[in-house]
């Protein structure tokens, strides 16, 4: 038995009330307080003039039909009374009643032990090339050391963290705002397919549910609840990722942030977190030291040789100094050809990556 009838009813009720939650939020009620209300009070709080109709629909709810739908979508579900429900998430009062899982249910096992760490890597959708690379390398480094990477599959940082973890074969778990079987955003279809095939996508909402605005901060509470530590890579001052960090803090979990240039607005949120005492995360090793204890696991550095030939080292330094396009590194076409050759080698060795606009990005 993986889900009890009561929890399924609860999930169905939240889905039923979903269109009305936005109005409830306008009453300045906190989302997590609202989601922690018992069924009857929730209907009263949100249903407004449609309360009666919603109550009728709620009473007519058929758990068998809901289970059938899950089966039809080849999905699984665990409710909070199931031993497989991630215990860390239960610590939150407003934890989802049911987690719907697209992918193998066994993969939730990585979250089954309260003492086995999992790290959430979240951040801006509109991220810089450097930010994307940091997220990717965090995902790669954490997953390679066996630490589960939790994120939300959003454009930018989230997707990069998942992709990094997938590069080394996981583990990584994505938490979606809509149904776990729906790729949101749609442009991440292939990433979603890969995550469902080899990892797991989870959501508190029923299959094929289309998310409302409030579902995203609600999803963030699940991410924060699942992870033992939350790392934010690039966030503006009003970023949704800061909500995740705040929720993690409320649960007493570690919060880290990747430092960025002080003048960059895309890093204002993360830099503010650092000022308020968040852990400084420069690379996967910093996150591993915090999650597992110092020196327990070593983040892999890839195929990089220990010693780099002096010309390549000099080139690397110039890229770090901001001369990151071939045109800015070479004055003549002949020099350009030599620079291309050297950069190809650096790229092959994993030191740089050619990013959008022909800018070379120094890999962390």
């Amino acid at each position: 038995m993986s889900t009890c009838d009561a929890c399924l009813r609860r999930t169905a009720l939240v889905a039923l009330l979903a269109p009305h939650v936005e109005r409830g939020r306008r009453d300045r009620r906190r989302l997590s307080e609202m989601l922690a209300l018992p069924d009857e009070r929730l209907i009263e709080a949100l249903g407004a003039d449609r309360s009666a109709a919603i109550r009728r629909a709620h009473e007519a709810f058929d758990p068998a039909l809901a289970r059938e739908r899950l089966g039809g979508a080849s999905m699984h579900a665990v409710c909070r009374h199931d031993p497989r429900y991630p215990p860390r998430l239960l610590e939150a009062d407003d934890a989802p009643a049911v987690l719907h899982v697209a992918g193998d249910l066994e993969r939730l096992a990585v979250l089954a032990d309260r003492d086995v760490p999992a790290v959430a890597v979240v951040g801006a959708r509109h991220a810089s090339a450097e930010g994307i690379e940091v997220a990717r390398s965090l995902g790669r480094g954490l997953a390679a050391a066996g630490v589960t990477v939790v994120s939300g599959m959003a454009l930018g940082i989230d997707a990069a963290a998942h992709a990094g973890a997938l590069e080394v074969g996981g583990p990584t778990i994505t938490v979606l705002a809509g149904g776990a079987d729906v790729a949101y955003p749609a442009s991440k279809r292939s990433l979603h397919r890969e995550l469902v095939r080899t990892q797991a996508a989870i959501s508190e909402m029923p299959p094929s549910f289309r998310p409302f605005r409030w579902c995203f901060p609600a999803r963030n509470r699940t991410i924060a609840g699942l992870a033992s530590m939350t790392v934010v890579v690039e966030a503006t001052e009003r970023s949704g990722s800061l909500i995740t960090a705040e929720l993690a803090q409320d649960l007493g979990r570690a919060v880290g942030a990747v430092p960025g240039p002080v003048a960059a607005s895309r890093c204002a949120g993360t830099n503010a977190l650092l000022r308020d005492g968040a852990l400084v995360i420069r690379h996967a090793q910093d996150a591993l030291d915090e999650a597992l204890g110092i020196g327990v696991a070593t983040a892999m550095t890839g195929r990089r040789p220990a010693e780099l030939a002096p010309p390549l080292r000099a080139l690397l330094r110039r890229i770090e100094d901001g001369r990151d396009t071939i045109a800015s590194l070479a004055a003549t076409p002949d020099e350009a050809q030599r620079a291309i050759a050297a950069l190809s080698e650096l790229e092959l060795l994993g030191f740089v990556r050619r990013g959008p606009g022909g800018h070379y990005v120094r890999l962390p």
């Binding site: 997707a159 960059a264 045109a327 003549t332």
Partner: protein, 507 residues
């Protein structure tokens, strides 16, 4: 009395022999032209009548019937004026008939009896020669163009009385001297005007050396168009054969009148609102489009993503086959389209992808990419991003002159011509997959590098062949007989879509 005059009408890029029959007989004065002529042919009556009178001839007060044979062919243009006038003069016995056994005539008349230039004179002259006609009388301005055809006597005349003199048996006047064109080549803008962009200049050199297609991407105002306009200055001069092919097309479309041979490679930059038929040719009477006007030259598509999908799709056949076939009812007209494609694009809707000031979302960029991607992108051999030049680069003088690049290009082309001797091809870009296997000699390192790239999935099978062709050109520029690993690596660098790189954008 009946007179027969030989002239020609244009049909695509060839011409058809037309016999203009003029009959004079008693009756109420009338002037009728039959034989499927267009408006210009119908109006020709007024021009012929007035021109004859103003040139001092008689216009017979008879019933005049003009027939353009063969009757089934549609006839266009004012080129029949001169033939009709000559027919009237001979039929009314103002001129002897024997002159018309030797000469064909082609030209438009002005009201004063002067001859105006006409489009398609080269094509007409070629038609006259293949029809076995000894001489052709054309307007004086077009005489040098007609004289490009060997074994044809050409008379360039300015007015009707001069035509009459020739038909009476006097020797035709000397051909006008060739116009001064020495300055033409020097007037083309020079690569030395370009500051910075060393990478793009190298890519342009490779493209010019092997006739490869090149896509430039970069923020607005960075110099994409400026660079593209200088591409002509680093291309080898046209061979005579190529020049005649170019002249034929430009003459038929009326873009080149009275200048003899076109000596500079064409550079065509159609606006992005162009229709498919404007690009590849079309119309009820098929006319060549921009792709044919760029034959043996450069077709530059500025802001590639702004072109309509149908217009871009229509370029597939011309790009692949070097020829475009336009089918109209029962007839098919073909135009040559062996052009080199240059295109430019913004990397994203705002144009600043990769810079901090870019405000486009990943989805915006993906959408922009989709507009570009597909068949056309796959046919681009070289992709180069042109970032904003650094401030230092703007202060410096442009270091690379067209002259030095052209020297390297000519050198590399020489190697290609020697290698391709006997295949009928002239550049690496034209190599077929079979010829790549037979003629491109790559060493073990080059093959290993290619295999590696293919295994990583960054290369399509079509791309595989393209890389070898570009690598061959890079080795030619370097003077190397074999393709080496470094040549392949450079080719791979220019093949990868920087801006459009899925891997670089999404995770």
């Amino acid at each position: 009395m009946l007179a027969n005059v030989t002239t020609f009408t244009l049909d695509g890029l060839s011409s058809r022999r037309i016999t203009v029959e003029v009959d004079l007989r008693r009756g109420l004065p009338a002037f009728t032209i039959v034989g499927r002529g267009d408006a210009a042919v119908r109006e020709s009556r007024e021009r012929v009548q007035t021109a004859l009178l103003n040139a001092g001839f008689q216009f017979p007060q008879r019933r005049i019937t003009v027939n353009l044979a063969p009757a089934h062919l549609r006839k266009v243009g004012p080129g029949f004026d001169l033939a009709t006038a000559c027919g009237v003069l001979v039929a009314s016995e103002q001129l002897p008939a024997r002159g018309l056994e030797h000469w064909a005539v082609f030209g438009e008349l002005g009201l004063g009896g002067e001859l105006r230039h006409c489009r398609g004179v080269l094509t007409v002259a070629e038609g006259a020669r293949s029809a076995g006609i000894a001489g052709l009388i054309v307007p004086r301005e077009c005489a040098r163009e007609a004289a490009l055809v060997d074994d044809l006597e050409v008379a360039g005349v300015a007015s009707l009385p001069e035509v009459a003199a020739i038909l009476r048996g006097q020797p035709p006047p000397q051909l006008p001297p060739p116009a001064e064109r020495a300055g033409q080549r020097a007037a083309a803008p020079d690569l030395a005007d370009v500051r910075g962009h060393s990478e793009a200049i190298r890519a342009l050199t490779i493209a010019a050396a092997g006739s490869h297609n090149l896509l430039l991407s970069g923020p607005p105002g960075t110099g994409k168009t400026m660079l593209a306009r200088r591409a002509i200055s680093v291309l080898p001069p046209l061979t005579r054969e190529e020049a005649i092919a170019v002249t034929r097309i430009h003459s038929v479309t009326g873009r080149h009148v009275g200048e003899g041979l076109v000596e500079q490679r064409p550079f065509r930059a159609p606006h992005h609102t162009i229709s498919p038929s404007g690009l590849v040719g079309g119309g009820t009477l098929p006319a060549p489009g921009e792709a044919s006007l760029a034959h043996h030259g450069i077709l530059f598509l500025d802001e590639l993503s702004e072109f309509s999908r149908p217009a871009l799709e229509s370029l597939r056949q011309p790009l692949e086959d070097g020829i475009v076939a336009i089918v109209r009812g029962q007839r098919t007209v073909t135009f040559p389209t062996r052009f080199q494609l240059l295109a430019s694009t913004n990397p994203c809707p705002c144009g600043h992808a990769g810079e901090q000031r870019c405000r486009c979302t990943e989805a915006d960029i993906a959408r922009h990419r989709r507009k570009l991607s597909g068949p056309l992108l796959d046919r681009m051999d070289l992709l180069v991003h042109m970032p904003r030049p650094t401030p230092e680069a703007l202060d410096e003088d442009g270091g690379t002159s067209s002259e030095s690049v052209l020297a390297a290009v000519l050198d590399a082309r020489g190697r290609q011509v020697r290698r391709l001797a006997g295949t009928g091809l002239r550049s690496n870009a034209e190599l077929t997959p079979q010829l790549v296997r037979r003629l491109v000699d790559a060493d073990a390192g080059a093959h290993a590098t290619l295999r590696d790239a293919y295994a990583r999935g960054t290369l399509s099978p079509r791309g595989h062949g393209r890389i070898l062709r570009v690598a061959r050109t890079i080795a030619d520029l370097d003077g190397s007989a074999r393709v080496r690993a470094e040549d392949v690596r450079l080719a791979l660098h220019f093949r990868r879509e920087t801006v459009l790189d899925r891997g670089a954008l999404a995770a």
